[in-house]
Amino acid sequence: MEMIGMEGSHAVAEAVKLADADVVAAYPITPQTHIVERLAEMVADGELNAEYIPVESEHSAMSACLGSSATGARTFTATAGQGLELMHEVVYVASSMRLPIVMAVANRALSAPLSVWGDHSDVMAVRDTSWIQVFAENGQQAFDLTLCAFRIGEDPKVLFPVMVHLDGFHLSHVVEPLVLLEKSQVDKFLPPYKHPYSLDCDRPVTMGAFAMPAVYAEVKKAQHDAFLATKQVILKAWKEYGKLSGRHYSPVEHYHTDDAKVLLLTMGSFSETAMVAVDELRKKGEKVGLIRLRLWRPFPFEELRQAVANAEVLIVLDRCISFGGPPGPVCSEVRAALYAEQKRPKVVGFIGGLGGREIAVAEFKQMVSRGREAADKGAEAVPQITGIR
């Protein structure tokens, strides 16, 4: 297929169209609105044969998705920031009731003050919700990962909902070069959705029973075990997708890591800026590399440990402040993942890119030198906010 220029949001919509989604529950919120608008156009023009429900809030958007998925329909919605917060309680229900739903999240900063611009505070608020979560770095990935999300979530060995994260504005609104897939290719990759339980009069089930203390813990353990087991299917699906498209995804992706003593760790669109910084530093002879978390949940413990095995310093960039705790959520998780390792790098954290703030290549280079300094001093300091007045 030929390479085209397309906005990240529209790329996501194309994936939903190719997947032949059945139901789209749509509520607009900056910066995901272009996704639901494009989908509305597709439905209006007969390009996508789906029921488009213009719900009256995000809480209802996710709730409608629950009903839709439980009835056996391939279901999609999109949200961002405040919208993800508003549907917070429903997000937990989707996963604990094992209802595959694909949701694109155009990551946005949280109020107050109001900010429509991108950061990861909305993502960090849903870490524990038992959704499979992946991060796109560019428009191509936004398309690919959305398609894969249907394949993964609906797999009979998974049956969990999936969030595809794309940075608000930086990915949602930027036109990027990408390649779509043919419908015939997608049809080979994506089997029809068939849930073992469905709302069906011939086999009446009760979904959403309440659990007494005597049994709630067992239900959660079952969910926990099932969620961890999804990793195998994620790897398999990405492998198949790689064969189909030529684009291979893995839970932790590497950039110049082979001989790197210092590694940067990023998630999302700033990974590409970091790559430029790595290139420039390498030209000066520094052994720096970059790893990117593609898979955020379930957390890729093994792949992370392997990726940093030979590094001396690991510099983690967070795009969210966790107030009152260790301030960088990703940094905390990375440290926890490495805690029990005999040999592990010194982990230094930075927080940046809040509320749509840019992080330039130069700043990444500064993070590397500051990170090195902190590690040398033996001070694995509390993550600092970078680029702040």
């Binding site: 094992r98 089930v205 979904m207 079952a222």
Partner: protein, 98 residues
Amino acid sequence: MSARRKQTGMTSGEVSLGAVVDEAGNAVEYKTGDWRSQRPVLNKDRCIRCGICYIYCPEGCIRQGPGGYFEADLYYCKGCGICARECWTQAIHMEPEE
């Protein structure tokens, strides 16, 4: 295994997908009849077999038995007394449970 034993004895491996209950109406196993402190007693001589008690029972445990008379299934009957109160011919009266 009874539902009660399942609830307190089920292992995480035995929990159904998404905690779905796949056995329609299996609550019928639960003996709500243990709740009552009074029970309905039917005087067949007065009963005109109209079925109004059957209509008004919140448990739905009144059934038409031999001869067409409507009697409460004491396995479920909670002893609310609605049937006795509503009976047209006052054929039902409530008696204290032992």
